[in-house]
Symmetry: C2
Subunit: 340 residues, 2 copies
């Protein structure tokens, strides 16, 4: 046995160890363990047994270096302080982990330029796949993704654009649906209160406008758009402001449940009857909305389902399996409760 001059001695069980134990070559072990079909069933068994017995765990770094592809999937979301995206992240993580992929967090703060920088640094890790939020990217980001050839799935919205993969639902339709519900309930002066003003919020606004225009009831003065970050406290402030400046408003559609919850709490504080004096609707069906007083009417958005479907689509892309569809619309659900 030739003793190498400078053994580094990491103490790791390697492919070679398994190969020696199974009496085959390292390449065969590699193929057998990765499930490549071109290995005799009997050898696969022998290799598996040897690997199991030695407690062999493949080295992700070596694998990444040799194959020019890591086992990491980068997930770029706007914020971690928003339940919506954490639910999404959780679902992605939970779906990818058993398949051997690690989830890398990227927080863009709703800033396409920040996203571009993240993308630049994450691409150095040769991710096996990519999940990005929406379609609001810089030209450079788009190029980077396309040129890298790294499989990528867009989430929260959908598109049928050529070569683009997406899982989401129509934010505009959902905005339309809840506005239509308010109209159907007989409300006539329906306000829209929004913060953050990211692309998806503005799509909900479009749905709201389209619905009211169709009914001949659209009044731009009833839109209150605020660029600050969403919060319960801000929802309360905007609720007050809307009632003060437009006392004739009889319903408010908040672009997000946290604002709507803040609005409901402000109504309690101010003694404003909901829905008697003014109805309140939210969006997303966040934690606690069903516990409010009155319980909040909202749109339930299937972000967990989006995360799972996106992860599954990405797995298929990474494994180069055929795809049933490049765009999955998971829909949304109107949840009518006491606040309207």
């Amino acid at each position: 046995m030739p003793s190498p001059r400078r053994p580094r001695a990491t103490g790791r069980v390697t492919l070679g160890d398994v190969a020696a134990a199974a009496g085959v070559s390292p390449i065969t072990v590699s193929r057998a363990l990765r499930g490549e079909r071109s290995v005799a069933a009997e050898l696969v068994e022998r290799v598996r047994a040897a690997a199991q017995q030695l407690g062999y765990v493949p080295d992700p770094a070596a694998r990444a270096l040799a194959s020019a592809r890591s086992s990491h999937v980068a997930v770029l979301i706007p914020l971690l302080t928003n339940t919506l995206f954490v639910d999404l992240l959780e679902a992605v993580h939970r779906t990818l982990l058993p398949a051997g992929y690690q989830t890398l967090i990227g927080v863009t703060h709703y800033d396409p330029l920040e996203e571009e920088q993240l993308l630049n640094s994450y691409m150095a890790h040769r991710p096996a796949g990519l999940i990005v939020t929406g379609f609001d990217h810089t030209e450079a980001s788009r190029h980077l993704i396309a040129a890298s050839r790294v499989p990528c799935v867009h989430v929260m919205e959908t598109t049928h654009a050529e070569g683009v993969h997406s899982v989401g639902f129509s934010q505009a339709d959902a905005g339309h649906a809840i506005t239509a519900h308010l109209l159907a309930r007989g409300y006539k002066r329906i306000a829209f209160v929004a913060t953050q003003l990211d692309p998806r919020v503005m799509q909900r606004a479009e749905g709201y406008r389209r619905c009211l225009r169709e009914a001949g009831r659209y009044d731009p003065k009833l839109e209150l758009l605020n660029p600050e970050r969403s919060s319960l406290a801000l929802g309360g402030q905007l609720f007050e402001q809307m009632l003060r400046t437009h006392p004739d408003v009889d319903a408010i559609f908040f672009c997000n449940d946290d604002l709507a919850q803040g609005g409901l709490l402000a109504a309690l504080r101010l003694g404003v009857a909901v829905p008697g004096t003014v109805a309140v609707a939210g969006f997303n069906d966040l934690n606690g909305s069903d516990q409010m007083l009155p319980p909040l009417t909202t749109v339930r958005t299937p972000r967990t389902r989006i995360g799972e479907e996106a992860a599954r689509m990405l797995l298929a892309l990474m494994r180069r399996e055929p795809l049933a569809q490049t765009s999955v619309d998971v829909g949304y659900q109107l949840i009518v409760r006491g606040s309207t």
Copy 2:
């Protein structure tokens, strides 16, 4: 120039390219870029300039393979559906990223065995560092961490045990403090309502007990312990149950703000005056607690600070820098609002 027979052509700019451009050896580039002090300042400048100009980005996989240490830090937390841990994760991620470390998520679901399995698979990635929640680990996990020699920081609780690094605060003292506040307010029949029953919740329970025993007011019948997962809805149910079974209770300390918020909303629904009939206190100062009716008295826990401090401590450990202290107590803050 010898043309290799089988070039793989990844198209990547490598250390060698930078070395050629700067007119030095690859090792010197490696050292210069990593900031090893043993390189002449003039060379460092030349290397930096060349790297910059070529757009060189180090390959994490190659680095990990050669050095037997990746640029990943695994963070093991109980749940992703709990703001507390997401805030922590966010802070860790935000602190580590500029230092060149990627955060890997691990969700243990409060299960030491699940944590052990995660640890097993994460260790194969040769993490540069580890952040784990609390001290409730299996014996095997402890061995694995110690044997791997991977720097590890425990968060949320603190210890002065030999060789253990921790950032947190005394959950028991915080539980004691808020109970003492209730006593000082004149409440005499103080209940403790808890769910989840993880180690930190039970430490708060200990603080509650110690405080009431000191005051001669401890009554085990006023403890309502429920193993289910925490939620607003459950908080409402337990609030009702406590008032029904113990109508003489004049204050309730909920182990977490979501339960307390649910309790406050249930009080509104039932027409129970807070704090007139019963005072309500929570724990953690979660989102929305200041917007409740009445606003919720609680303990603010500095999870963002914990995340930052833990990440900083870990950075020092990973860089083998001297540590000011192995245990950092970040304290907590009693927030008195209208509910008590």
